[in-house]
Symmetry: C2
Subunit: 311 residues, 2 copies
């Protein structure tokens, strides 16, 4: 028996050039204005970074989705404070405060990636039964993305969790790709629209007292990030992701497999000792973060049957 999820937030535009979430939030806000639909669960729809959305950039001064640590949320604002840090504190007031009883029960933050990742829920926990059950529900029902729905786990202490979804009691980033930033592809938009609908269906069912059977979910836990090969002096990138690896997110990478192709034509191989699952392969926003791809270990997590305490 788990508490009901009476307050849910759907956020988009946390990165202003990831347009599926931006337009999905636009549409939800418009429909709400028109029809004043009363949903059976209180759903707050939020455009997280309106200034970045307006300029169609990821962020204006600093990455908003790295501003939600307890430390950053408790900094006092000065004239030098970035727009995004100020905005993170506003969002924390609206959707949190983080770690408090008043915080949203569930935050779903909508993102796009240039990587061929299909639909992923990205979380900080491999034992959040709510998030894991939502993932299982999407896996069984999502029609639009032909690829699997996957569950990614960043093994970071709760206190260091930095993203908007960490403000809720439960939360995840819903990441869908491939889609270049700054444009919208109809198929990716429809996949996100469907997934948000399924998510809200699940919450309504859960709140109505429905029992969700146990089972298992494959969890991909981040092991490490790998940077592009760079010139030691200028720090300029000297190789691209290898054509054999490009677009093969979640296909097991073995030691010795091609990883990069240098601009002069040399193949550079994966030197790790253990086969791992690559994801976020060639995400354009991560060039500045020195991440060419991430590598994960996969394991099956058994999840119990759940139902809400409110019948």
């Amino acid at each position: 028996m788990l508490p009901a999820l009476s307050r849910v937030a759907v956020c988009g535009g946390t990165h202003g050039n990831e347009l599926s979430g931006v337009y999905l939030v636009h549409e939800r806000l418009k429909r709400r204005k028109k029809s004043q639909v009363m949903e059976p669960v209180a759903v707050v729809t939020v455009m997280s970074n309106p200034r970045a959305v307006q300029r169609c950039v990821r962020y204006t001064e600093t990455d908003l989705n790295r501003c939600f640590t307890h430390a950053m949320l408790s900094l006092s604002a000065s004239e030098q404070t970035s727009y995004e840090l100020v905005r993170s504190q506003e969002l924390n007031s609206l959707l949190g405060p983080k770690g408090s009883a008043e915080a949203m029960d569930l935050i779903c933050d909508l993102h796009n990636t240039t990587a061929n990742m299909g639909l992923c829920l990205i979380t900080y926990s491999d034992s959040d039964w709510i998030c894991l059950h939502i993932c299982k529900y999407l896996q069984a029902r999502a029609q639009h993305p032909r690829t699997d729905v996957r569950y990614i786990h960043y093994d970071i202490p709760r206190s260091e969790a930095y993203s908007l979804d960490s403000v809720g009691k439960h939360g995840f980033a819903m990441e869908i790709g491939p889609q270049p930033h700054g444009l919208i592809r109809a198929n990716i938009f429809m996949a996100m629209q469907e997934a948000v609908q399924l998510l809200l269906d699940w919450v309504r069912l859960f709140n109505s007292g429905a029992q969700f059977e146990g089972g298992s979910v494959d969890v991909y836990t981040l092991v490490k990030n790998i940077d592009y090969p760079r010139d030691p002096h200028t720090h300029t990138i000297i190789a691209a992701v290898h054509p054999d690896l490009q677009d093969r997110d979640f296909c097991l990478l073995h030691p010795g497999d091609p990883m990069f192709l240098s601009f002069s034509g040399e193949t550079l191989r994966y030197k790790g000792k253990e086969p791992l699952y690559p994801f976020f392969i060639n995400e354009s926003a991560y060039y500045e973060k020195a991440v060419a791809l991430s590598l994960a270990r996969r394991r099956k997590v058994e999840i119990p049957a759940i139902r809400s305490s409110r019948m």
Copy 2:
């Protein structure tokens, strides 16, 4: 008999987030520094917008590749002048002056697009035998892009030509996609590298007096641009390119064919009276220019045999 092409410019980074050209120029400048190779033709390699490259944005204040009209090149600079206008005048000094005998014989300006256009040469002329013969040569020899090499013609008076390549006696933008801006895909990089190599091979052959046989080239002449459907009040986009049209650049679009899919699920159709060839479908940089796609008419242009006057 045509004059030899003794001075050729290869430019990249005119848009700072179109990374194939940026890294191709990096590599050429590096190799030149290392080996001081003397090429049989004087090739100048130019990073057109270093400030935009450094920030990985299309431009910093205004689109550099719209600054090369005679009118803009002759504006006198003030404190308010944008970085890009100042830079266009510098580039005009370096590679022009536009319209003068001192101008480069040929300018190849490297670009990427998010559209599925393969490799295109974009020009202002459908009777520039040099550009048309280069296109024919690439069509016969380019291996990397599986798609055809195509020739696009913007039917604009020479005096209003606005792009960097218009500074040369001959010139074109070499546009390759699909590639999201702000990242590099190895296959697209290799296609561009090969095409630049073939272009320079052609110039060397031409200058050595080789005869190039006549033939024909399909020319796509821009007829009109089409914007995304927008909310009449807020001007916000209300539909995406239809999944049946997305990625189908240069596939004939017939009256009544699906063109857009609204965010509420409605299909909007092409209302033109004439079947036309779409290109630049869903190019992210053109959202701000109110262009969802361009439409072209195709015709076969017969080109004569040519050789250079310098033997």
